[in-house]
C-alpha cells in the first residue's frame, strides 16, 4: 500500500506532508506529559512493527499473502499519539533507507497507513480493548477493515489528484477496494490474534495505556485533514489548467520539441531562433543530439568528481 | 565520596504480581572490594543488583551507596556513583557507533565536545576497544560488545561497578579476557554470576542468595569449597574443585 514518489504531485505530496507534520507536532506536544520511559518503548515497538511487516502471511482462500500494517495494533498498545509518531518514523525509514514509498509520498503514506487506522478507527475500538470478548474481537476486525479501506481509498484519491498515472479511477476503485477487503481482514484477524495472545500471557501490557487518556481532539485532526485535501485538490486543479510549455506542445503532437519558454526566448543564441510548430527531421535530430550532449556532460562531470576525489587525502573510514 | 560503601539494610521487595523477590537482605561492602552474588535462577540476583543502581527503589529497608541513600531525590547522584553493566549488551548499546554510544552518558551530563573525545577514548582504551570506535554495535562480536558496554559505563567515572552475568555467552578466550579486564579495575566490583570459576579468579567475597534471602556471606575460598552449602542452594562446586 506504500505510494511511490513517482505517482505523487508536489501539490498533493506537499499538502499531506504539512498536515502529517501538523498532526505529528500535536502528538509530540501531548507526549511531553508522558514519562521519558515511553520513548525507548516507542523505539522498540516501531522496530517490532517494521520487522513484523517483513513476515508474509497467507490470506486464506485467496492464495495470496499480505503483511501486517500495524497502525491499529500500535495504537492499542501505546496510545494514538505515540502510535502516530512511530508510524511517521517507520515510514520515513522505509522511504529513505529502503526506497519503499518515497520522501515526497511520505505525507500520503503517513495519512493512509497512520492517520486513518490510528485517529479515525482506533477511538471506535478503544473501549473494546479492555474486555477480550467475542463481540469486541469482531469490532476490532471490522475497525481494521475500515481502516485499511480508508487507506486504500486515500491511495486512489491521492493518485487521481496527482494525475501522473492516467488512471480511470472509478473502475480502479472498484478493483482496488475488494483486494483491500482481504488485506483489511488479515490486518484485523492478526491484530486480534496478537492482542488475545497478549491477554493470555501478559495482560499487563495492554490496559495501562488504553484505559487512561481521552479521545484525541478529533476536530483538530479533522480540520487539518480537510484542509490538506482542499489544498491538494486546488493545487492539482491549478496545475492542470495551467499546463506549462512542455505539456502544451506535447498535446499538439510534438515530443522532442518544446515551445521555448520566455527565458529560453530571451537567451536564445541566435536572433530569430524559434522552434516552429512544424515537426521536421531537424528537431528530431536535435533531440537525439541534445540527449547525447547532456549525457556526455554528465559523464564528464563524473570524471571530474572522481579525479578530484583521487587527489584528496583519503578519509579515515 | 572517597569511601564507596554499599550498604543494604533489611531490603525487601516483591513484584507487582505479588511474587516475593528479596527478603530482608542485609550486607555491607567496603571500598575496593570485589564481591560475587551467586544463586540459582530466580534467586533474586538481578533484582538485588537493580536496587543498587536505583532502577528499583526499596519497598522496605534501605540501600545506601557512598554517602547517599537510594531514593528518588538522590537518583542522579546514585547513578553517577554506580556503573551498571547489563547482561545483554544489546540492551545497553543503542547508538549507531561505538564512539557515540560511549559518549552518550558524558554528553547527557553536559560534558563539552573536546572533553568528550578524551573521556571516550580513555574508557575505550581501558577495555582495549579503542580500535572499534567507528564501528556500529551490531558489527561487533559478543566479546567486543561486552567490552564496549563496560566502556559506556566507565566513561561516567563510576566509583562502583555492578555487572550482571559478565561472562554469559562468551567463548573461553573472551571469557579469559573478561576475567583479566575485571581484575584490572580498582573500582568496588559487585557481580552476579553462575560462573563460579570466574568468582574464584576475580572476587574475594561471595554472597549466596536463595529465594531472595542471603544464605551465606564469606570469603571465596571457604564458601566455594563447601559442597553441602552450595548444593543446598542449587549450586555445585566450581569445576576446578571437582574430582
Amino acid at each position: 500500500m506504500h505510494m511511490s514518489d513517482a505517482l505523487v504531485s508536489p501539490a498533493v505530496g506537499g499538502a499531506l506532508w504539512l498536515s502529517s507534520l501538523a498532526i505529528a507536532r500535536q502528538a509530540s506536544r501531548k507526549m511531553e506529559s508522558r514519562p521519558v520511559e515511553t520513548l525507548p518503548l516507542m523505539g522498540v515497538a516501531g522496530a517490532f512493527v517494521f520487522a513484523a511487516q517483513m513476515i508474509n502471511i497467507s490470506i486464506p482462500g485467496t492464495g495470496s499473502s499480505g503483511h501486517l500494517g500495524g497502525g491499529l495494533l500500535l495504537a492499542s498498545l501505546v496510545g494514538p499519539e505515540a502510535a502516530f509518531l512511530i508510524m511517521f518514523v517507520v515510514l520515513f525509514i522505509q522511504a529513505t533507507f529502503f526506497a519503499d514509498g518515497g520522501l515526497l509520498a511520505l505525507g500520503c503514506n503517513v495519512i493512509n497507513m497512520g492517520f486513518f487506522p490510528i485517529y479515525i478507527v482506533y477511538p471506535y475500538i478503544r473501549n473494546s480493548l479492555a474486555s477480550p470478548g467475542r463481540g469486541s474481537r469482531i469490532k476490532i476486525i471490522i475497525a481494521a477493515v475500515i481502516g485499511i479501506e480508508l487507506g486504500a481509498t486515500g491511495v486512489v484519491i491521492e493518485t487521481a489528484l496527482s494525475g501522473l498515472a492516467s488512471l480511470n479511477w472509478k473502475p480502479f476503485l472498484a478493483a482496488f477496494l475488494p483486494i483491500h477487503l482481504a488485506i483489511g481482514l488479515l490486518e484485523g484477524v492478526l491484530t486480534v490474534a496478537i492482542l488475545s495472545f497478549l491477554y493470555r500471557i501478559r495482560p499487563d501490557i495492554i490496559p495501562s495505556y488504553t484505559k487512561s487518556g481521552k479521545t484525541p481532539s478529533r476536530i483538530f485532526v479533522g480540520i487539518i485533514f480537510l484542509l490538506a485535501l482542499g489544498v491538494a485538490g486546488l493545487g492539482s486543479r491549478f496545475a492542470s489548467t495551467h499546463p506549462d510549455g512542455l505539456e502544451w506542445s506535447l498535446v499538439k503532437g510534438q515530443f522532442f520539441q518544446s515551445s521555448p519558454s520566455k527565458l529560453q526566448e530571451k537567451t536564445a543564441p541566435f536572433p530569430g531562433y524559434q522552434t516552429g510548430p512544424n515537426q521536421d527531421s531537424t528537431s528530431s535530430w536535435a533531440g537525439i543530439i541534445g540527449i547525447l550532449l547532456t549525457l556526455g556532460v554528465l559523464m564528464g562531470v563524473r570524471k571530474v568528481f572522481i579525479w578530484r576525489r583521487k587527489n584528496l587525502p583519503p578519509g579515515n573510514t | 565520596m572517597s569511601h564507596h560503601l554499599v550498604i543494604c539494610r533489611d531490603l525487601s521487595f516483591s513484584y507487582p504480581d505479588g511474587t516475593p523477590a528479596l527478603d530482608r537482605v542485609s550486607f555491607l561492602i567496603t571500598h575496593g572490594e570485589s564481591v560475587a552474588i551467586v544463586g540459582a535462577n530466580g534467586a533474586g540476583k538481578s533484582t538485588l543488583l537493580l536496587h543498587l543502581a536505583g532502577v528499583f527503589l526499596p519497598q522496605s529497608g534501605s540501600v545506601q551507596v557512598g554517602d547517599v541513600k537510594v531514593e528518588k531525590a538522590h537518583l542522579n547522584e546514585v547513578r553517577r556513583t554506580v556503573g551498571f553493566v547489563f547482561q545483554n549488551p544489546d540492551d545497553q548499546l543503542f547508538m549507531p557507533t561505538v564512539f557515540d554510544d560511549v559518549a552518550f552518558g558524558p554528553r547527557n551530563l553536559g560534558t563539552t565536545e573536546p572533553g568528550i573525545e578524551a573521556r571516550v577514548m580513555a574508557a575505550l582504551n581501558e577495555v582495549g576497544a579503542a580500535h572499534l570506535r567507528n564501528r556500529p554495535p551490531y558489527h561487533l562480536s559478543g566479546g567486543e560488545k561486552r567490552s564496549v558496554s563496560i566502556a559506556t559505563v566507565l566513561a561516567l567515572n563510576p566509583g562502583i561497578l555492578v555487572l550482571d552475568e559478565p561472562t554469559s555467552n562468551l567463548d573461553p578466550v573472551n571469557r579469559r579476557k573478561m576475567i583479566r579486564l575485571l581484575n584490572q579495575f580498582t573500582h568496588t566490583r559487585i557481580l552476579a554470576t553462575h560462573d563460579l570459576d570466574l568468582v574464584l579468579d576475580v572476587c574475594t567475597r561471595v554472597l549466596i542468595l536463595n529465594q531472595g534471602r542471603i544464605t551465606a556471606d564469606g570469603e571465596v575460598q571457604t564458601v566455594l569449597r563447601n559442597k553441602d552449602l552450595l548444593e543446598r542452594n542449587g549450586l555445585e562446586l566450581p569445576l576446578r574443585f571437582q574430582n
Binding site: R202, G253, F255, I288, I289, G290, V301 | P96
Partner: protein, 283 residues
C-alpha cells in the same frame, strides 16, 4: 562479528528479507566514510534532497528528456560521496517493478498520439510510463544516497535542528537500532518454524499471531531493560548530539548552487535546447 553478519544469508525462504537487511547494513557501513559529502552539514543534504524530489515531481506527466539533467545530482552525491553504484542498484531494481506496476496501464489508457522520431506515432501513455520510471530512479536514488552519505545519527540530528516534532529524532534513532535485532529475531523464529513444518512460504494467521505475540512480549521486556540502561546513563528525553557540525559558507554556497541548477533544469529543457543549438551551429 563476521559470523553474526553473514548469519541471515542462510535463511532460504526469507532470502529477500535478509537480503534487504544486508543491503541496509552495507549502506550503513558506507555512511561512516569520511568524504566531502559526508562531512557536509546534514541539513544541507536533507533540504537538497527534498527540493530535488519536489522539483522532479513538479514536471508534467510527459516530461522525459527534461528529466535527464537531474541525474547530475545523484551522480555528484555518489561519486563525491564514494558510494559505489552497486550499493544502490540491487535496491532500485528490486523496487522498480512497483513503480512500473502503477504506470503499466498508462499506455492502454492514455492514447494521446505522440510522434517519436524513428518510431512513428505512439500513445502518450508510453511516454508517461517512461517518465514515471525515470522519476522513480531519480527520487529513490536520492533518498538512498542521502542515507549512504549521512548515516542515522546525523539524520536524527538534522531532523532535530530542522524543527521536526520533538520526539521524531530520538524515536528514529531507537527504531533504527532495534530494527536489526528484531528482524534477526523474526528470521530466527521463522527459521525454526520452517525446520518443523512443510515448506510453505507464507505463515497461517493463527501461527503468525502467537509468533508475533511472543516476539512482542520479549520486545516489551527488552524495552524495560533498555529504558533502565538509558536512564542510568542520564537519558532525559533527548539524545545529546555532537555539535561539531557547523553551517559554513561552503554549505550555503553548495545549497544555492544546486538549488539554482535545479531551477535551471526545471525551466530549460537542457537536452532539447542544447540539441537545437548544436544543429544550428553545424548546419
Amino acid at each position: 562479528m563476521a559470523k553474526e553478519e553473514s548469519a541471515p544469508r542462510k535463511y532460504v525462504s526469507t532470502g529477500l528479507i535478509s537480503r534487504a537487511v544486508i543491503e541496509l547494513r552495507s549502506l550503513d557501513a558506507l555512511s561512516r566514510q569520511s568524504t566531502p559529502v559526508h562531512k557536509l552539514d546534514p541539513r544541507v543534504k536533507l533540504i537538497l534532497v527534498f527540493a530535488f524530489v519536489f522539483i522532479i515531481m513538479s514536471f508534467p506527466p510527459y516530461a522525459l528528456l527534461a528529466l535527464v539533467p537531474f541525474f547530475s545530482f545523484p551522480l555528484w552525491m555518489s561519486t563525491a560521496g564514494r558510494i559505489p553504484p552497486r550499493a544502490l542498484s540491487w535496491k532500485l531494481l528490486m523496487l522498480a517493478p512497483l513503480a512500473i506496476l502503477v504506470g503499466i496501464f498508462n499506455p492502454l489508457l492514455d492514447s494521446t498520439p505522440i510522434q517519436v522520431p524513428f518510431l512513428g506515432t505512439i500513445s502518450g501513455g508510453w511516454i508517461s510510463l517512461g517518465s514515471i520510471i525515470l522519476r522513480f530512479f531519480l527520487s529513490a536514488s536520492a533518498g538512498l544516497l542521502l542515507v549512504g552519505t549521512t548515516g542515522p545519527l546525523r539524520i536524527s540530528q538534522a531532523l532535530q535542528q530542522l524543527k521536526f516534532p520533538k520526539f521524531i529524532g530520538v524515536v528514529f534513532l531507537l527504531i533504527y537500532r532495534y530494527l536489526f535485532i528484531l528482524t534477526d529475531e523474526f528470521l530466527r523464529l521463522n527459521q525454526a518454524r520452517i525446520c518443523r513444518s512443510a515448506k510453505r512460504k507464507a505463515i497461517s494467521i493463527s501461527l503468525a499471531g502467537s509468533m508475533m505475540g511472543s516476539v512482542l512480549i520479549r520486545t516489551w521486556d527488552r524495552a524495560e531493560r533498555i529504558t533502565s540502561a538509558m536512564l542510568l546513563r542520564g537519558f532525559s528525553g533527548t539524545v545529546p548530539l555532537p555539535n561539531t557540525q557547523k553551517w559554513t559558507r561552503k554549505e550555503t554556497l553548495l545549497l544555492f548552487t544546486w538549488l539554482s541548477l535545479f531551477i535551471l533544469f526545471r525551466i530549460v529543457n537542457i537536452p532539447d535546447y542544447s540539441g537545437q543549438v548544436f544543429m544550428r551551429i553545424f548546419r
